[in-house]
């Protein structure tokens, strides 16, 4: 995966609660193959039903940070949700909280789920409302989200392990594979579930 550095964008306000992963990518598109297909699938049903949908508004083109309502990415575990967002040019989503599985899936795909407090969220909302073209900077190595024009700096609360992986471009699977010896030890040890022990012994 590409290493993530600092990036800046104006905000896409999507201030609605509980945007679920079925909305982000409808189930019939989860087996899309190419970046173009995933980008097309992004919020497809919403866009087909509403020509005014936020992502299709001319002013929103080229923007890469969504300012979302609470509980963004709830629902289905489909990793296709971050795939579609990334394919659609989104690099970060800001919310007061994310669906747990979406949060994990995003971190594996270079999409930053940025959790802010209610107060910080309110501040960002009012800034975005008053100054829709204001630039927001996400600096992962520096661990901050900032709106320089308004003197706002918010510390990121991204899991430090995943932050390290994203900055270094490292992969979780490499980490797991480097510990095969411990896994073997666990499988041969006392803690393993009795049924699992029996299955591994061929019973």
């Amino acid at each position: 995966m590409d290493k993530i550095r600092a990036f800046s964008s104006t905000l896409i306000p999507m201030l609605i609660a509980n945007v679920d992963t079925d909305q982000i990518i409808p189930a019939q598109f989860v087996s899309s193959r190419t970046t173009e297909e995933f980008a097309h699938a992004l919020f497809r049903n919403r866009r087909d039903r509403d020509p005014e949908f936020i992502l299709d508004q001319p002013a929103m083109q080229g923007r890469s940070i969504i300012l979302a309502g609470p509980n963004f990415g709830c629902g289905s575990s489909r990793e296709a949700a971050p795939w579609a967002l990334v394919a659609g040019g989104i690099r970060a989503v800001i919310s007061t909280g994310f669906g747990d599985i979406f949060n994990n899936n995003s971190l594996k795909n270079g999409l930053l789920p940025i959790v802010v407090s209610e107060t910080e969220h309110e501040r960002l909302r009012s800034v975005a409302a008053a100054d829709p073209d204001v630039e927001v900077t996400v600096d992962l190595p520096g661990n901050t989200l900032s709106v320089p024009a308004h003197g706002i700096t918010i510390e990121l609360r991204i899991d430090p392990f995943y932050r390290h992986l994203l900055i270094s471009g490292m992969d979780e699977l490499d980490y797991l594979l480097s510990h095969v010896a411990e896994i073997e030890q666990y499988e041969a040890g006392d803690a393993i579930h009795p049924t699992t022990r029996a299955k591994l012994a061929g019973r």
Binding site: L15, I16, A17, N18, D20, D22, Q23, P26, A27, Q28, V30, S31, N45, R46, D48, R49, G69, P70, N71, C74, G75, S76, S77, R78, E79, A80, G97, G99, D100, I101, N104, N105, K108, N109, D159, P160, F161, E172, L173, Y175, L176, L177, H179, V180, E182, I183, Y186, E187, A191, I192, H193, P194, T195, T196, A198, K199, L200, G202, R203
Partner: protein, 477 residues
């Protein structure tokens, strides 16, 4: 939110006991490497994971712990089900090829063990108390009813689990939801789940593993507990749990992959030590009184947008910003006005099925209403059993005949109209009374409008042709 409990406190909970026994390695500051006893795979999410495995030249590490089936995309229509596999949907065919390539166990479209992945796990005895079970499907929480730490994962984590039988996880916080009192006749665990979300919203479980406890949960069958744990993901929690007890052991005994003989005795001893200690402390505690729960109906596009059958659609004007915006959008989508009474609302289709409510007890509850009655004119009823085994039982008990005589369509085991990717799809603007788990926009088809409810409420609704209270059917039965 309260501060996390101490290490000592979480160790006395069911979750803590399972967690501790599955940590392969915990390096300071890093997520734990957690061992998975069972990995279930389905055709809906597996594709890119196995591409990654091929790229990295990795194979299935533990074949006996890895089981796949087809449920999301396989047709429920009998005439389409027994076709040449080559004409099956691409992902179904591809899973069949992949299973062969990797030597992975597969219960294919017409295997006698096939079914919705969260129905067959417990049914086959694969899901056992004290295990860690993962599957790339958010409703993996269902298996928690067995006292199993079960949670949904992403596609990348499929690759991790296949290759190493482990995955990286941070320990979650603990929550106990106590369900006091007892459920009234005609009210089910599905109603409890919807009532909890109506009260506390759809994010209250975030970052937590929920243990459902209390007398009403103890009184529930395993299948009822499954419907409750199934919906814990809708409450924001990846895992729901119920402590294993005699009900659990009775359910498991004699199942195909359950331990037998001496292994059974050893397993029961292991399982019996798992429940949370009486003095266990949880990070968060919530309670609900089961006796106050009515049959629940959703009116919006989030499962927390639910009211009792006698209730009315709320007014966005009474809510704060984003919630008001969400409700306004939802009601516009649903074609409902604030103040509307839900009982009597005309529906086009009724769907009884999905990993939430497609088990034999769900079908029995529906049959008590449908026996000797007919589906209302202008309403279609589709009943899709959760597995081949459920289908066989329903046919042997005469339930399938009750359904067909009432005018229902009787389908082949699949996720069907819950996720609408197998050819079963709702039309735009159509109202669907559904026993599934999600009323999200366009979930059951672009523009389709979902009303979530229990199987008995759905059956009553099919008979009346409009949202109906199931309780009169109980007393007259």
């Amino acid at each position: 939110m309260s501060a996390p409990t101490t290490d000592e406190a979480y160790r006395r909970t069911l979750y803590g006991k399972i967690w501790d026994r599955h940590v392969v390695l915990q390096e300071p500051g890093l997520p734990a490497i957690l061992y998975a006893d069972v990995h279930l795979v389905h055709e809906g999410t597996f594709l890119q994971a196995f591409e990654l495995l091929r790229e990295r030249n990795l194979n299935v590490r533990r074949h006996p712990l890895t089981v796949s089936t087809t449920d999301h995309f396989v047709p429920s229509r009998r005439d389409l089900r027994f076709q040449d596999p080559a004409t099956m949907p691409y992902v179904v065919k591809s899973l069949m090829d992949t299973a062969e390539e990797f030597g992975m166990t597969l219960y294919g479209p017409n295997d006698r063990r096939q079914g919705i992945v969260h129905v067959i796990g417990p049914e086959l005895g694969l899901t056992q108390p004290g295990m860690v079970l993962v599957c790339a499907d958010s409703h993996t929480s269902t298996h928690g009813a067995m006292g199993t730490l079960a949670f949904g994962i992403g596609t990348t984590e499929i690759a991790h689990t296949v290759a190493t039988q482990t995955l990286l996880q941070r320990r979650q916080k603990t929550m106990r939801v106590t369900v006091d009192g007892r459920l009234a006749p005609g009210v089910f665990s599905k109603d409890v789940a919807l009532a909890l979300m109506a009260e506390y919203g759809t994010a209250f479980g975030r970052g937590h593993v929920i243990e459902f406890a209390g007398p009403a949960v103890r009184a529930m069958s395993i299948e009822a507990r499954m419907s409750l744990c199934n919906m814990s993901i809708e409450m924001g929690s990846r895992s729901g749990l119920v402590a294993p007890d005699e009900v659990t052991f009775d359910y498991l005994h004699g199942r195909e992959f359950a331990p037998a003989g001496e292994d059974w005795d050893r397993a029961v001893e292991y399982w019996s030590a798992l429940p949370s200690e009486p003095d266990a402390v949880f990070d968060t505690e919530l309670a609900i009184d089961a006796s106050t729960v009515a049959p629940m109906i959703t009116y919006g596009t989030s499962p927390g947008m639910a009211v009792g059958i006698d209730g009315t659609v709320p007014d966005p004007a009474d809510l704060a910003d984003e919630e008001a915006a969400a409700l306004t959008t939802a009601l516009e989508y649903m074609g409902l006005r604030p103040g509307t009474r839900l009982a009597g609302k005309k529906v086009d289709t009724v769907f009884i099925g999905s990993c939430t409510n497609s088990r034999i007890e769900d079908l029995r509850a529906a049959a008590t209403v449908l026996r000797g009655r007919s589906v209302a004119a202008g309403t279609a009823l589709k009943i899709v059993p959760g597995s081949q085994e459920v289908k066989r039982m329903a046919e042997a008990e005469g339930l399938a005949e009750v359904f067909v005589q009432a005018g229902a369509q009787w389908g082949e085991p699949s996720c069907s109209l819950c996720v609408a990717v197998n050819g079963d799809v709702g039309g735009s603007g159509e109202y669907i009374a559904s026993t599934s788990n999600r009323n999200f926009q366009s979930r059951q088809g672009p523009g389709a409008r979902t009303l979530l409810m229990s199987p008995m409420t759905a059956a009553a609704t099919a008979v009346q042709g409009s949202v109906a209270d199931p309780r009169p059917f109980v007393t007259s039965a």
